[in-house]
């Protein structure tokens, strides 16, 4: 199987090898894949990598089902089982399912909207390499003393605290999650801007192809859900490494983690599901020969799902002791979210009405996804009930429910996408019989695993074993039989994918789809070797059908993303391995960032200008500015969650010190005035360059930098005083915990801003900006003002109240 996956990577190199023929063939091949910035290649990398992670997590599933096949088995020891159950969940959800969706988004969103590439080619590679290194970091946690995280994928505190999980695996796992969340944020900004800003003429927003439309909504969820995870993980790492007490105190503790985790965790469920449904919608339309039924209501329904997804997370907390009113509201919201899904089902099924349905492999998987989702969704209504959840919470009923939704509906939908787009990605046809066999085995195996679990509504989740007297044996045995069918049958998919590379050439539009990615602009290239030449000859990185599609070797290489990401991941892993590793990581990171800035400074990384297309509703906004606004949207959630956690602790902690007793109000006021002034000076710099005054820009930026340094120095002295007052070795109390983390993260943002200023000054000095070209200065202004606005909220909360 590994050979097949490897072959896939090699296959997609084909054209690069021809292009870079002067180099040694093998290094050119490697270079292409390591430094690529092309959206198709990054898409392929995402796809292949996510399969590796699925393979790892699948093995864990195999181990768990083997352990649970019979009562009182001792195949796995409890700690091993807990590690398996935790890493299986984390890897499958975060390193397999959502990246597989991102893989398709990378490859097909630009094709579907007629863009030459994604908006920011290097950022695309950056998000991929962060994903890879985060996965390696997470997997490495198996091999550190104490083993990998073992508190369930939800990481419920205080089990994750240093007291109960003393090993460094938990620290490493959380570090990996931070890197992954950063990767997703970067990728999200990129794909959102791509969809908003790079549509070709005629691709209006409401006419977006199904997959792109669903991806757009999914990206909004990525954007606003993952910052909450980052905030929670930062607090967790601070607890574990610096001795703060967010999740070990009773005022914060388990409930605070629940809020922070599920504000991320529940939207994550839809993040996994929606791209798959976008694929399903497109496939059903294609293989019914009909346009998507109720297209506009479908569009609205997905939007409502996205909005509501942030308002239902409390159903994970029904038994934590939240008030009855809260539970009732969350019950109603959760029931409400099934209504837009009803519209989705209506649209999917209605599309087939009076159609000519062809049951090819992609269609079978798409329909399988819908059927399984109906079962999974209906079982979700059980869990939405505050009364039924009393008995169902923490049982295998829940396990059955979310596997139906996440594995069944999502994975089947994504697999449908693989079969559907294989001819596009490889230029060759997969084996239909193998595909159908794969579907039947998967469908039967899947239902055998998870349907019996609905009847284990008393069996606790995540138990390593059970007594025979419980009567849970038969259902578990059936589930294990199902797993032994389902998991190995996935190898058929990998085998089929490998085989496709040698398969018969596919026609340009094998499914008679009307979507743009199949639109035939040019015919198949003739210069390639005929069938039978095997891997690495040939049809290149997919077949260029449309004129807008760029040949992949045209996109430039960049060594910066992989270096930057390696540095970031190493420095984060250093949280578990100690200061030297952090320093090494930061050095590598600095190398990547400096190289990147150098490329920009010298104008080395240029992408061809694109013809202006549909940009509604942002036709007046420059691309970089739109990206900055999008990024600030996610930053707002990050600080929102940090300040929300502060508010939560503040309300629950009875011994909060009076204003002025912990922090000097006068010092804080001076600092605040400096912060406001620095916003003003930055703005004056922008005005100068708009008037063409280069020296004015440099002068005002210099003043801004100076004010930033003074502000950081004031905070530094405050920190120094507070740290001096701490008892050595003792836990830091809640008021100071939240102060340190919030101002610390804010300070890090100020620091990043100061590096930006240095870059701007350097560039301005060499005439990089003019009255017409000041976009970067403007974006810096946005960032700087945002960071300062955050301080205007932080200051009254911590100093005055």
């Amino acid at each position: 199987m590994l050979r097949a996956v490897w072959g896939w990577a090699r296959f997609h190199d084909s054209k690069a090898r021809g292009h870079l023929g002067d180099y040694n063939v093998n290094t050119a091949w490697l270079k292409r894949w390591l430094f690529t910035t092309n959206h198709k290649e990054v898409g392929i990398l995402y796809l292949v990598t996510s399969f590796y992670f699925a393979f790892l997590a699948g093995i864990l599933a195999f181990l768990m089902r083997t352990q649970l096949a019979f009562p009182s088995e001792t195949f796995l020891q409890p700690p091993q089982y807990n590690e398996a159950v935790t890493m299986h969940g984390l890897i499958m959800v975060l390193w397999f399912l959502s990246p597989l969706g991102i893989a398709f988004a990378n490859y097909f969103v630009p094709l579907q909207i007629g863009a030459a590439d994604v908006a920011f080619a290097r950022l695309n590679a950056t998000s991929y390499w962060m994903y890879v290194f985060s996965g390696i970091t997470a997997f490495a946690s198996f091999f550190v003393p104490g083993g990998s995280p073992a508190s369930g994928w939800t990481n419920y505190s205080p089990l994750t605290s240093l007291q109960f999980s003393p090993g460094s695996g938990e620290t490493l796992g959380a570090a990996a999650l931070i890197v992954l969340a950063a990767s997703n944020t970067v990728g999200t900004v990129n794909i959102l801007v791509t969809i908003l800003w790079h549509r070709a003429r005629g691709v209006s927003f409401v006419k977006l192809p199904m997959f792109t439309m669903f991806t757009f909504w999914t990206m909004l969820q990525f954007l606003w859900a993952f910052p909450s995870l980052i905030a929670g993980l930062i607090m967790l790492e601070a607890d574990r490494l610096l001795g703060t007490s967010f999740f070990t105190s009773t005022a914060g503790g388990s409930i605070l983690w629940d809020h922070v985790w599920w504000f991320f965790g529940h939207p994550e469920v839809y993040i996994v599901l929606l791209p798959a449904f976008g694929i399903v919608a497109g496939i059903i339309a294609t293989f019914s020969g009909r346009p998507v039924y109720a297209r506009k209501p479908l569009f609205a329904a997905v939007g409502i799902v996205v909005l509501l997804s942030y308002m239902v997370y409390g159903h994970h907390m029904f038994l934590t002791g939240i008030s009855l009113t809260e539970r009732e509201v969350f019950t109603i919201n959760t029931e409400m979210i099934s209504i837009p899904f009803g519209v989705l089902m209506l649209s999917f099924i209605g599309t087939m009405y009076k159609g000519a349905v062809k049951l090819t492999t992609p269609m079978l998987f798409a329909l399988g996804s819908v059927v399984i989702f109906v079962i999974g969704g209906l079982s979700g209504v059980f869990n939405s009930s505050l009364a039924l959840d009393i008995a169902l919470r923490g049982t295998y009923f829940v396990v059955a429910h979310f596997h139906y939704v996440m594995v069944g509906a999502s994975e089947f939908g994504l697999f449908a996408g693989i079969y559907y787009w294989l001819p596009k990605m490889t230029g060759r046809m997969y084996n239909e019989t193998l595909g159908k066999t794969h579907f039947i085995l998967s469908f039967v195996g899947f239902n055998l695993i998870f349907f019996p679990m609905f009847f284990l509504e008393n069996m606790p989740r995540r138990i390593v074993t059970y007594a025979a007297s419980t009567g849970w044996g038969p259902a578990n045995f059936i589930a294990t039989v199902g797993a032994f069918i389902f998991i190995p049958s996935q190898l058929l998919l990998v085998y089929n994918m490998g085989r496709t590379l040698r398969g018969p050439p596919a026609p340009a539009n094998p499914w008679n789809s009307t979507d743009r990615e199949w639109a035939s602009g040019t015919s198949m290239p003739h210069s390639v070797g005929g069938p039978g030449h095997g891997l690495g000859n040939g049809l290149g990185n997919g077949v260029s059908h449309s004129g807008s599609e760029s040949a992949h070797e045209a996109s430039p290489l960049s060594t910066r993303p992989i270096i930057l990401c390696l540095g970031f991941a190493v420095s984060m892993a250093g949280l578990a391995f100690g200061l030297p590793v952090i320093v090494i990581g930061l050095v590598i990171l600095a190398g990547g960032v400096l190289g990147w800035a150098w490329d920009d400074y010298r104008g080395r990384f240029r992408l061809p200008e694109e013809e202006e297309g549909e940009r509604w509703p942002f036709s007046k906004v420059p691309k970089d500015k739109l990206a900055m606004w999008t990024f600030l949207g996610s930053e707002a959630v990050l600080f929102g969650v940090l300040l929300g956690s502060y508010a939560f602790i503040r309300v629950n902690f009875p011994y909060w010190p009076a204003p002025g007793s912990l922090h000097d109000i006068n010092v804080g006021t001076v600092d605040t005035i400096i912060v406001i002034t620095s916003s003003l000076t930055a703005y004056l710099g922008l005005q100068s360059i708009k008037a063409g005054n280069k020296r004015g820009l440099i002068g005002w930026l210099g003043v801004t930098l100076l004010l930033g340094i003074v502000s950081l120095a004031i905070k530094g002295s405050e920190w120094y005083g507070l740290v001096q007052g701490l008892a050595p070795g003792a836990q830091i109390g809640l008021p100071l915990s939240s102060y340190f983390v919030t101002t610390g993260i804010h300070g890090a943002h100020v620091l990043a801003g100061m590096f930006l200023i240095i870059y701007l000054v350097k560039r301005a000095a060499t005439g990089g900006f003019s009255a017409e070209r000041y976009g970067t200065v403007e974006n810096f202004n946005l960032y700087w003002s945002f960071v300062n606005c955050v301080w205007l909220v932080v200051f009254p909360l911590f100093y005055l109240l």
């Binding site: 297209r295 009855l324 009732e328 099924i349 009405y353 159609g355 062809k358 009364a387 995540r462």
Partner: protein, 223 residues
């Protein structure tokens, strides 16, 4: 009058197999919480099976009816862009009313869980403090309710439990009685139950709490 000890033997131990499950829906349940829960659960099953049958049935029907055949021509094309607003509204209204009904039934059921017959401070009830610790449950009540890991209560007695934890997040559940509450350090969650038939019931932990999670089992003995 029936003595508490003369229990029909088949109720003494309650196997959880599928057969027992099918039976339980029909049996008179011996506790108000379990009773309420079970009837609500049955209602949801009926609704879910109905909705699932209709939806999946429609899908299967469309696939068979509109299956492309070599003889049949291409799909009928009609005007694109017409929004079938009426169909969508009908679906929304049907779903909303069914869900409203289900929600109402749930809100009704939670009333039973939230309101012990004589209030939470009922002086005649047996008040038990439950503490979760890795990896056991301890019970503390004024009148003495048994040895560690075994809670002994008289039948028909209203039992009010105040549940907390001293280390990590646990979840205290008595599956047969359909009662459960999270045991969280620093928080106190109340549940109540009343069992009219004597017997032995399992008490389990429903939140991963470490290596001994599966073995954090206690026994409820109703005499």
């Amino acid at each position: 009058m029936r003595s508490g000890r003369s229990v029909p033997p088949k109720l003494k131990s309650r196997p959880e197999g599928t057969k027992a499950l099918l039976r339980r829906g029909l049996l008179a349940i011996s506790a108000p919480t379990a009773d309420t829960w079970q009837s609500l659960y049955n209602l949801y099953w009926v609704l879910a099976v109905a909705a699932g049958t209709i939806t999946i049935g429609a899908l299967v029907f469309f696939v068979t009816k509109y299956r492309a055949r070599p003889s049949s021509g291409p799909a009928q094309q009609d005007e694109d862009g017409k929004v079938p607003i009426r169909t969508v509204l009908v679906i929304i209204i049907i779903m909303a009313s069914v869900l409203a009904g289900a929600g109402y039934a749930s809100f009704h059921a939670i009333g039973v869980y939230n309101n012990p017959p004589n209030g939470w401070n009922d002086p005649n009830a047996l008040h038990v403090n439950v503490t979760g610790q890795r990896f056991s449950w301890s019970f503390n009540c004024t009148s003495g309710c048994g040895v560690p890991a075994v809670l002994t209560v008289p039948h028909n007695k209203i039992v009010i439990m105040n549940i907390t934890s001293i280390d990590v997040f646990h979840s205290f559940g008595i599956p047969d009685l359909r009662v459960k509450a999270d045991a969280i350090p620093g928080k106190y969650n109340l549940i109540w139950f009343q069992v009219s038939t004597a017997g032995t019931y399992r008490i389990l932990c429903y939140e991963l709490c470490g290596a001994g999670h599966a073995f954090m089992i206690a026994k409820l003995v109703v005499t």
